[in-house]
């Protein structure tokens, strides 16, 4: 993994997870995106996020997973964890081309609107605090970061 926001980096347990929160690790494919959204929303709410932020995290998880479904292997895993300050949402695709047609940059250089192709990633970068994408031999991993305290 060459990503800037690999799980080992972003997920360091240097802070306490919110009470009631349990990490999520769930497989998805084209037929289970609804279940993915429901699970992400439930876990994001348990992390203490408000209604609007829960929606944002859910939307980003969906867009990253949809990318893997449409442009990549067709399936993957979604993981959610916190380090006490941030909630991390990571979507990994065990195919090689999951986000291959997306620029491998961090959140600061969002693609200009309009850009239908890659619009999901554009949205993720607009909504999340930071999005990192890494390509490796085992596939592609996108990690979005959200502050646990309202900005």
């Amino acid at each position: 993994m060459t990503g800037r926001e690999g799980r080992s980096q972003g997920g360091a347990a240097n802070g306490a997870a919110p009470a009631g929160f349990t990490p999520l690790d769930q497989a998805f494919d084209a037929d289970s995106l609804y279940a993915l959204r429901a699970a992400v929303a439930a876990h994001a709410a348990a992390a203490g996020l408000g209604r609007s932020q829960v929606y944002d995290v859910t939307a980003v998880a969906h867009e990253l997973a949809a990318n893997a479904v449409v442009h990549g292997a067709g399936h993957g895993r979604v993981r959610l964890w916190t380090d006490g300050d941030f909630l991390y949402c990571q979507v990994s695709d065990d195919g090689r081309d999951g986000f291959a047609n997306q620029p491998s940059t961090s959140g600061d250089g969002a693609a200009p609107w309009p850009a239908e192709h890659g619009h999901g990633l554009w949205l993720a970068r607009q909504v999340a605090d930071h999005v990192g994408i890494g390509h490796g031999p085992s596939g592609t991993t996108a990690t979005a970061r959200f502050p646990l305290t309202p900005r």
């Binding site: 084209a30 995106l33 609804y34 959204r37 209604r51 609007s52 929606y55 944002d56 859910t58 939307a59 969906h62 867009e63 949809a66 449409v70 609107w113 309009p114 239908e116 619009h119 999901g120 554009w122 949205l123 607009q126």
Partner: protein, 291 residues
């Protein structure tokens, strides 16, 4: 993905005895509003029997752009319950109910209206009512009463609550079957036409997998002309692809003379605002809670 009804509610005319089936109250009120709106604007007398009551009925119709208070005040419209009309002391007799309809036809003529429209919410028949076995006889009686008249009757059946046998037993007496044109319907998502105000209604969760029926629904709404409402009040989730589809349709159709209204929850509205849809000429982005 095509209209699943013989006829649209907006196409009903004199002598039509229509069987409307609906899946949720939102759909019932929408179709009723269109039926009432078209009747009032044609100068007809309109009667709506339900358990909603005149105040709530006026509210539901008003929310859909059909102000009925003036019509209620001048007795062009009646919104009333079933008791004393279809029911007597919670008992049903087909002959008495048909007699009530005949009386309405007569008084409508006496009042000088050129015709009558009657909407009958049939959910009373789901209650423990004596004489319910006369329901087919009632529907047959309506058909006879309408023959050669200037009236139309819209019988409203909840397709989720009435059993298929009952629906089949009364279906044959109707000359028309009416339902909302539906583009997609499953446990997670429903996309159907909205009749009052005209447009489409999307409820549930919408993502790229339903892009095709969404595009069809949008294209048909645009083709019908006039202002368009995309009612997403009951839409809990929309993805980027579908946000873009709706935004593109709104941008293309909205103009100074044609307003496209997007009605949605605040989280969904934020998505449209993010891609620059707020404040564009011809586009109204209304989040729940806004006026």
């Amino acid at each position: 993905m095509t209209a699943n009804a013989d006829v649209q509610v907006t196409e009903l005319g004199a002598e039509d005895h229509a069987c409307l089936t609906f899946g949720e109250s939102e759909e019932l009120f929408d179709l009723t509003a269109a039926f009432v709106r078209d009747g009032l604007s044609a100068g007809l007398k309109v009667v709506w029997l339900s358990d909603v009551g005149p105040g709530l009925a006026a509210g539901e119709l008003g929310r859909r752009g059909v102000p009925v208070e003036p019509a209620l005040a001048r007795e062009q419209m009646t919104a009333a319950g079933w008791e004393g009309r279809l029911l007597t002391g919670q008992a049903f007799r087909a002959s008495a109910a048909v007699g009530w309809l005949a009386g309405e036809l007569e008084s409508c003529g006496r009042q000088g209206f050129p015709g009558l429209r009657v909407a009958l919410d049939m959910s009373w028949a789901l209650r423990p009512v004596a004489g319910i076995e006369e329901l087919p006889e009632f529907e047959e009686g309506i058909a006879a009463a309408l023959d050669g008249s200037t009236a139309a009757v819209l019988c409203q059946y909840d397709r989720e609550r009435f059993d298929p046998v009952t629906l089949a037993s009364v279906g044959g007496f109707h000359t028309r079957a009416v339902a909302a044109a539906t583009y997609h319907a499953d446990a997670l998502l429903r996309i159907c036409r909205q009749y009052a105000p005209p447009g489409i209604r999307i409820a549930g969760e919408l993502d790229f997998q339903a892009a095709e029926p969404l595009a069809l629904a949008l294209a048909e709404a645009v083709r019908l002309g006039g202002d368009i409402t995309v009612n997403m009040s009951a839409l809990a989730f929309i993805d980027a692809r579908c946000t873009l589809l709706i935004a593109d349709a709104a941008r293309a159709a909205g103009s100074q003379s044609r307003v496209v209204t997007l009605r949605c929850q605040p989280e969904v509205a934020k998505g449209f605002a993010r891609i620059g849809l707020a404040g564009l000429p011809g586009i109204r982005l209304v989040a729940a809670g806004d006026r």
